[in-house]
Each structure stands twice: as structure tokens, then as C-alpha cells.
Symmetry: C2
Subunit: 346 residues, 2 copies
């Protein structure tokens, strides 16, 4: 029995130029006939979207294709896509069946037909909040794990600095570092976030970078003996100050540079001579290259989560219609913790 | 029988500020009584200096001690020191005896008493020009070897770019890369140097950066498919242009940034987002950390040299009194090939 259902969607109207705002997106309603019968176009899946993830990298997909983008741009006039958690309503892919829960790349809409099923992971553990698969147990969690454990080669007792530390990735890097026995300091952009870092996530220290006119002095205060590991989320002036404070044989995992994404021209970084002086390894990475490690990652993190050894904070907004403002809020630092949009709770 | 000999010395008169020139150095004559009898002050050696090496890093020793220097500053009023080749006249160190030839850190003078004998290597192969131990077979050779083979993890067929490519280090990196089967392009600052790279050192291509108003375009011309490995000797604008042209999983060995050493404030580097986009590993190093590899290095390079598979060009100036202008010439790019000063030929 065919049933007509409405499918609310978040459409990118045009490529973003300059600082993004909600006006680049609109909410539209299309219709979909259920149940869709196979084949769709080959062997895709029909998903009912439950939770959507707002991630900083998405701004790069909202801009015109350009040389320094590592992801395809969205199509103006089409729904935005991104990480999410969804339920499989029907499947033409033998790896998925009706009723499966998945996380991975889906559309910013109520229902999505996804042909790129290789970007979907089946959710096998449901004793934890499903929304966590947009964060702790999904791409941001893997990003923290790969960037810290694989890229930084951390050792017990090392001194770790994390920028944008209360975000989805930063909060986890800090906790992984604490679990390993490191000294951990984070920077964030409000008193509320700083309190969260110290009181909830167990960072040794944290500071509000907006209240530090001299970042170099702030870092010298918290790292009188220098920084062994810097987890880079912001770029620009912060990176320049960090370079002055790195220790010999230091490592910098370059995960993101959110302070630079919306500038006409990125800021200049002046202190790269320290790479030589301090024998620093600075390494960029993209988590999708490392998804083969996902099972190993879950083995590490699920027990921590179940034993209460990892705290995780989400900033949850209800309703797909509020997704555009949630996404834009990332770039003004409005969110506290991982920004999630609830499309549907089941 | 005591004999009074004069000892010509190159003294650093004062710390260099701004661009260096010869006026910061003076030639003085002190006297020394030979033969010196043991103990000097413990277990040093008395050296007769033969060849002195002019190396770009030395400018950092001529400046006031500062945070981003990785070597001690010279003492105003004292002789400059640096790498050289010397003959042992007398020794209080059981590892050295009269008549030994050594390379390592010595003074810019005719005779030196060196207590830091751990910075001296005994020369065991004398079928090659002795002056080569200031370059190909000494610190610059080791720098090229470590930076390329150890830091860059090169593979046959990869695309390699080298800046300051005709210098002591660059000419060797290019030849190591060619011997491994890489595609190699170098930049240098004159037609003569470019010719040397192509005709003498066997680079696939070379260009004069001074004649390229758009370095990005120049790199795109020589690397239409991008750069796998960049051996960084200059920094600044060159690094920025290279970052735009790196390939995925590229590596940058940061050996030096000669274009930045004499600037009031280093130039800003704007394209570091490419570290993420291209998953680049950028790693600084200092050769002295890797001197344990010297025997392995000699095993590789001596056969190449004897078989004529490695070319090596020196720019030789006669006489210690000409050492100051030879050193300053490094920073104006006057030298062609490794800059050596002959103090004495035996």
C-alpha cells in the first residue's frame, strides 16, 4: 500500500561566501512515496533520519569548490548532507536490512535514499544513547582517537594542549590524554566552557582565550616547561603562540583550523622556525583515512563509557527546522559540547 | 723546545643585528707556544685547522641568545667556531693521537685547543679530498641523508622539490633522490646555479626563483601532479607556494629557512590548511640528533663518490683572512656550491 509522506529538507540555496549565516539555507517540504520498493537505483538504502551532526568541516562543503577543500561541495538547491544516525526502512544492500540502526553520511532531511552505503556503519551496541554515534562513538570520537593515539604517539606524563577543547573532538582528546596519565590543558571561548573542561572533563587546567590578550604568556603560565603535544583545532594566532612553547621532539596533530575557515585570507603563521629548533613533527590528518580502526576504537571507548570513565556533553536542538541555526552556531561558538539536531527519536 | 707561533683568528666583535656584514668580524693575531704539553685543561686536543666550513646556521650563533635559537651564541671578543677539518698536533684524549685527521667543531683560527672532543670525528678515509669532510662527507652530507632518507621516507618514483638546491645540502638531497629513482626539481637564485643543477647534478628540472613572479605557477609547471616530498631550506613565500602544490600524504623535511634568518619578523605562512587537506607530515630536524647514523651514511655515500655517481661542487676561498666575506656571501647567495675556506692545505 503506497503511502505519501512529507519529507522536510534543509536545502543549501547558494554557495556561502564570507561568514556563513542561516540565509544560505532554507526548509522545504517534498513528498516521498512509502514503502519504496527495490531497486532504488541499484543497491542503496532508505533511511529514516534520527539525529544529525553539526560539524565544523561542513562549512568547507558549503563553499564553492576550491583547491584547498578536501570534501566535495554541496550542490546548491539540494539538501545538505552530513553525519547522522538513522534507521533503515528498506535496503537493497545485503549488508543492511530493515530495522538496522546505522551511523554515517546521510541527508539533512527526514528520509534519505543513500546509495553510498560504504559510508554507513551498522550500530551494534544500543545500550548507550543513540545520539552518541554522531559524536563520541562516531566521526568526532574517531577523530579524537586517531589524532591523539595514532598521530601524536603520546606517552604517560606528557604535557598536552588542546584548543577548541570543549567541542566534540576536544573534550574527548582531553579525556583520552588524562586516561593515559598526561597533564592536560584546554582553551575555549567562554567561562561556561572553561568550567566544563575543568569540572566535568577533568582537564588539569583550562582558560578562556578571549580573556588572554597575550596567548604566549597564557601558555607559559600553564606550561612552564613547554608543550609536548598540541591538538590543533583552531589555527592562526593560537598556533603561532603554541609554536613558541613547544618542547623538543614535540608533536602537533593538525585536526582543524576553525578560526581560519571564514576569513578572506588565512592569517600568517610566523613561528615555523620552531619546527626546526624543537624538532617538531606537525601532521595533518583526515579521519576517514583511518576508519579501518573503528572496531579497535570501539573496543577502547565502549568500556570507558560504560564504566563512567568518559564524560560526554551534547548540545541538543530539537527539530530539523532548527538545524541551520545549530550549524551556524558552531562558527560563533554558541554550542556547549557536541552540537546534535534531533530529527526524530525513533 | 718551546716555539712561539702566531695564531691568526677570526673574532666576532659584537652580536649581529639585522643583516650581517663583515664589519661584525675582525682578524687578529695571537700567539701560541708549541708544542703544547699535556694536560691542557683535562683531555682536549690541539688542532691545526685545514679547512673551515661556512654554513647558514652560523648566523644564529652570531646573534644575541634568543628563544628560537637551537645553538649557543658565539662570545663577542672570541673566535668564531664552526665545522672544519683539522690535523691533531697533540692530544690528551685517548681517542685521538698526533697526526690524526678529524672533522667537527673547531675554531676559526690557525690553531685550536678543543676540549669538546665528542664533537670531533676521526677521518678514516683519505682517498677523497679532505675538504669534502666539511660538506659531502660531513655535517651537510649527513643533513641531506638524514633529512631525505630518515625524515621523508622516500619511495622510487616520487616527486621531490628542493629549495636552495645548489647549496651544500640541496645538491646532495637531489642526487640521493635521483639515485633512488625520484623525479627531482630544484630552485636556486641564479642562472649559473640552475645550470649546475641540471647539467652537473642531474636534476630533472631547475628554475631561478628570482625570475618567477608567481612561485605557485612555477611549481604547477614543474609538478602538474603535485609534490610528494619537499626538502625545505628557505621558508616564507616558497613554503606557502609549496603547500598549495603538495600531494596527498606528502612529507616536508624542514631543514632550514634561510630566507627568514635575517628578517626583523619572519614572514607569515598562510596555507597551512593544506596540512589537513593533503594529510601532510611536516617535520623539523637537527642533524646532530642523528650522528649515530654517520657510519651507515658513509657506507652509502663513499662507494657512490668513488664510483663517480655523486657529483660535488665546492666554492673554495683561500686564506683565513677571507673567511668573513665567505660567510657573509652565503646570505647574499654569492657562493656556488659548498663554501669552504682553506686555512692550510696540510
Amino acid at each position: 500500500m503506497a503511502e505519501q509522506v512529507s519529507n522536510k529538507q534543509v536545502i543549501m540555496k547558494d554557495y556561502v561566501s564570507g561568514f556563513p549565516d542561516e540565509s544560505y539555507m532554507s526548509i522545504t517540504i517534498s513528498t516521498l512515496t512509502l514503502p519504496l520498493k527495490l531497486p532504488f537505483s541499484g543497491n542503496g538504502v532508505l533511511l529514516k533520519n534520527l539525529y544529525l551532526s553539526c560539524d565544523p568541516y561542513m562549512i568547507n562543503r558549503m563553499r564553492k569548490p576550491h583547491a584547498s577543500s578536501y570534501v566535495d561541495s554541496f550542490q546548491p538547491g539540494s539538501p545538505i548532507s552530513g553525519y547522522g544516525v538513522a534507521k533503515v526502512l528498506d535496503s537493497g544492500d545485503p549488508n543492511f536490512k530493515e530495522g538496522d540502526l546505522v551511523w554515517g553520511i546521510t541527508g539533512w532531511e527526514e528520509y534519505s535514499i543513500i546509495n553510498a552505503t560504504q559510508a554507513l556503519f551498522k550500530i551494534r551496541h544500543t545500550d548507550v544513547p543513540l545520539s552518541y554515534y554522531t559524536g563520541l562513538l562516531g566521526m568526532p570520537g574517531m577523530t579524537a582517537y586517531v589524532g591523539f593515539h595514532e598521530i601524536c604517539s603520546p606517552q604517560k606524563g606528557e604535557r598536552v594542549f588542546i584548543s577548541a577543547a570543549s567541542g566534540a573532538v576536544g573534550q574527548l582528546v582531553g579525556q583520552f590524554a588524562k586516561l593515559l596519565g598526561c597533564y592536560v590543558v584546554g582553551s575555549a571561548g567562554s567561562k561556561e566552557k572553561v568550567d566544563l573542561l575543568k569540572k566535568k572533563f577533568g582537564f588539569d587546567e583550562a582558560f578562556n582565550y578571549k580573556e588572554e590578550p597575550d596567548l604566549d604568556a597564557a601558555l607559559k603560565r600553564y606550561f612552564p616547561e613547554g608543550i609536548d603535544i598540541y591538538f590543533e583545532n583552531v589555527g592562526g594566532k593560537t598556533l603561532d603562540a603554541v609554536l613558541l612553547n613547544m618542547r623538543i621532539n614535540g608533536r602537533i596533530a593538525v585536526c582543524g583550523m576553525i578560526s581560519q575557515y571564514n576569513l578572506e585570507k588565512p592569517e600568517g603563521v610566523h613561528n615555523l622556525m620552531n619546527l626546526i629548533v624543537k624538532r617538531i613533527r606537525m601532521q595533518g590528518f583526515i579521519v576517514t583515512d583511518h576508519y579501518n580502526l573503528y572496531p579497535k576504537f570501539l573496543e577502547l571507548v565502549l568500556p570507558y563509557l560504560r564504566q563512567g570513565k568518559i564524560e560526554y556533553v551534547e548540545d541538543i536542538i530539537e527539530g530539523l527546522e532548527n538545524a541551520p541555526s545549530a550549524l551556524i552556531g558552531l562558527f560563533t561558538g554558541r554550542n556547549v559540547g557536541k552540537q546534535v539536531v534531533v530529527v526524530s527519536r525513533e
